[in-house]
């Protein structure tokens, strides 16, 4: 008797299918339904049609958190792409201690978000923090990083760059895959270091740049734990992010229906931005034939 591979595999993937259906697919479908309801979790849902979506347009806080999140997402993901590529390029330049530096760069990604946020809270402390102490040692009066409307969001961006270790590893792998012969040819043709980086390295690691850029953008648009723990969205709502607003509406204000509408819009915007980046990236990304 010959069984199809699918039937053989089915018992093994069934637990995953059940988990996916119960804990992901069903909640996603339910959240779409709840977005059309007034639902507080404490009371049965009451159908309100598109009211929750209409309310978004007139909600000043919605526009505020959207702007904050887009600014953070674009700046943070852009800087993460550039910085991690530069670090990876330096590490692949056969410098002494590269393995140690690589490990140091990667370790922060293993630190839980809450622990990291608490540590950074102390680093950013205006009086007792290491950053301002270091600045003070060179005669600079450091600002109130998280308490200043001008510095709070940039501080979160800097903190976000602390966890670029995964991106660095992806770039390192991509850089090692660049054929040495191409560098040698370019050198023979008189191309300098910067020229080799621009005309050889960048095109050949462009798929990794696109991948890291898209992943970084998606993650940064979901920013939640650092501002939730460190600034509570302040000062003056300058670090209030979209995911925090979704959470507050769902679990603090008792407006799960409105939170679901916010979440669906977040998914659609993230999807749209990802597609735009992929479409634009396709014009610049170079894929080598296998």
């Amino acid at each position: 008797m010959k069984r199809s591979p699918f039937l053989v595999a089915l018992p093994w993937i069934t637990p995953w299918i059940i988990g996916f259906a119960a804990f992901l697919a069903a909640p996603i479908a339910m959240s779409l339904w709840y977005s059309l309801n007034d639902y507080s979790l404490l009371e049965p849902a009451a159908f309100v049609g598109l009211d929750n979506y209409k309310e978004l347009a007139g909600d000043p806080l919605f526009w505020r958190v959207t702007r904050n999140t887009l600014v953070y997402g674009l700046v943070s993901s852009g800087l993460a792409v550039v910085l991690s590529l530069l670090i990876a390029a330096l590490l692949e330049a056969r410098v002494r201690g590269a393995a140690l530096v690589r490990a140091i760069v990667f370790i922060p990604t293993l630190v839980p978000a809450v622990s990291g946020a608490v540590s950074w809270l102390w680093l950013f402390n205006p009086r007792f923090g290491l950053i301002n102490s270091a600045l003070s040692a060179v005669g600079v009066d450091g600002p109130d990083w998280l308490g200043s409307t001008a510095w709070a969001m940039p501080s979160l961006v800097v903190m976000g760059l602390w966890v670029i270790g995964s991106s660095v590893l992806v770039y390192s792998a991509a850089l090692r895959d660049v054929p040495r012969a191409l560098y040698e040819s370019a050198s023979i043709d008189g191309v300098g270091r910067i020229g080799r980086f621009r005309h050889v390295t960048l095109p050949l690691v462009s798929p990794a740049i696109l991948f890291n850029g898209v992943m970084s953008l998606i993650w940064s648009l979901q920013l939640f734990a650092p501002p939730h723990l460190m600034t509570r969205g302040g000062p003056e709502e300058t670090t209030y992010t979209y995911s925090m607003y979704v959470y507050n509406n769902a679990f603090i204000y008792g407006r799960m229906g409105y939170a679901s509408a916010l979440a669906w819009l977040q998914i659609l915007v993230t999807l749209a931005l990802t597609l735009i980046v992929l479409a634009v990236g396709r014009r610049f990304v170079y894929y080598r034939a296998a």
């Binding site: 093994w12 009371e43 205006p126």
Partner: protein
Amino acid sequence: MSDSPHHSTISSVTRRAAIGTLAGAAALAAFWPRTARSRRTIPSGRVVLRYWEKWTGPEGEALQRVVDRFNESQDRIWVQRVPVADPMSKAMVAVGGGDPPDVLGMFSYNVAQFAEARAAMSLDEFASRPGAIDPSIYKPAVARMLSHQGRQWAGVNTCYTLALYCNRAILASIGADPSRLPRTIDELDALAERLIERDAQGKLTRVGFVPNLPSWWPYFWPIMFGGSLYDAASDRATVASEECIRAYEWIGRCAARLNPTAAGAFANSYARSFHSPEDPFISGHAAMIVQGPWLANFIRHYNPSLDYAAVPVPLSPGVPDPDQPRGMLEADVLMIPRGCPHPEESFRFLSYTQSQEIQEQLASEHCKSSPMARVSEAFMRTHANKSVAVHDAITASPRVEVLPQTRVWKPYADLLIGAFDEVWSGGDARAIMTRVQSRAQAVLDKAAALRSRREGAPA
């Protein structure tokens, strides 16, 4: 079975793995503990109540002593305290999911939300049971907080008021009379100015008083000017009233006097130091601070020699009345969520905790004043907070304020957090409060409209 060697290998590996997995699962089932470790000490035959409470550490241990007392006082019910962080969100999910605990330890501002959603059981439903609770056992403002729309929804589980704590030694060091603490805002401002200390670079090293240290109650200050945030009768936000605006203008002046950036940085540097040896008041970096009665607990742990005294928060001229101090009252409450497995037993436990003796035991260990109308002489005499009489007077005062009893208090409060920051940075208090009132009213109106829609009546 199979005619391909490759397929045969897959099948044999699959079969071996399947048998191994099943054997492993059987072994796990055989040896899995039948009783959770936390339930092994429960005497058999008892009805077990799950009680979610937010307190941990010494405050949680004090509460556990009350729970232990109840468990020993009878042989039918066993209360199991489950420490739960962020109880509001978890309770909402548990109630929504149809699996609530038996007893919920929440905050007084949650009462309206749970009451309007009928997510908690009204204690009036137990009026005919033994241990029925007569609201007159509480101080009047406490009874008000436990009720909503004319019915009682919760029992109290300690309460607190805010008072101005003064470091008498620092006051004496600048020549101020430590027995004559500020009673009006003008006196507070004048004294605070004299207490400021700066280092050689001009940086603040000590403040007299700043309203953002701590920044936990950005909605508190209108009380000092005779204002209030909400008119329950008309369901209107009133934060743009003249009294409230004067309060936030005063905050702006406090910030400007010290330099908003410098004072903000000073306060933020202590944001994570409260209730520790580095607490700005306990360590002498703030000479006066608005705090709850629990501060005395931390003083006796970290700096027992600190010479302090508390007074009702100073008021604007014309408002003070020594016999009827103003202040803000909040409470921790116990609720029985609707749909809980054992409502009768839950009420019996809740009722047990509402005695003068139990509340005094808990309040004494938490270093708070008693929420009960009758207070024993021993409680006041042996209390660890030497200013407990001040807190007790505020709690009992007919002019004490409680937080707005509306289900949308949290979004309203969050608007006030942002507004406080704006005023602190030099924003125009009148414009900011007018805007906040408009936004808060929109939130209130939305809630009213949704409530009307649910009840099938026009908003």
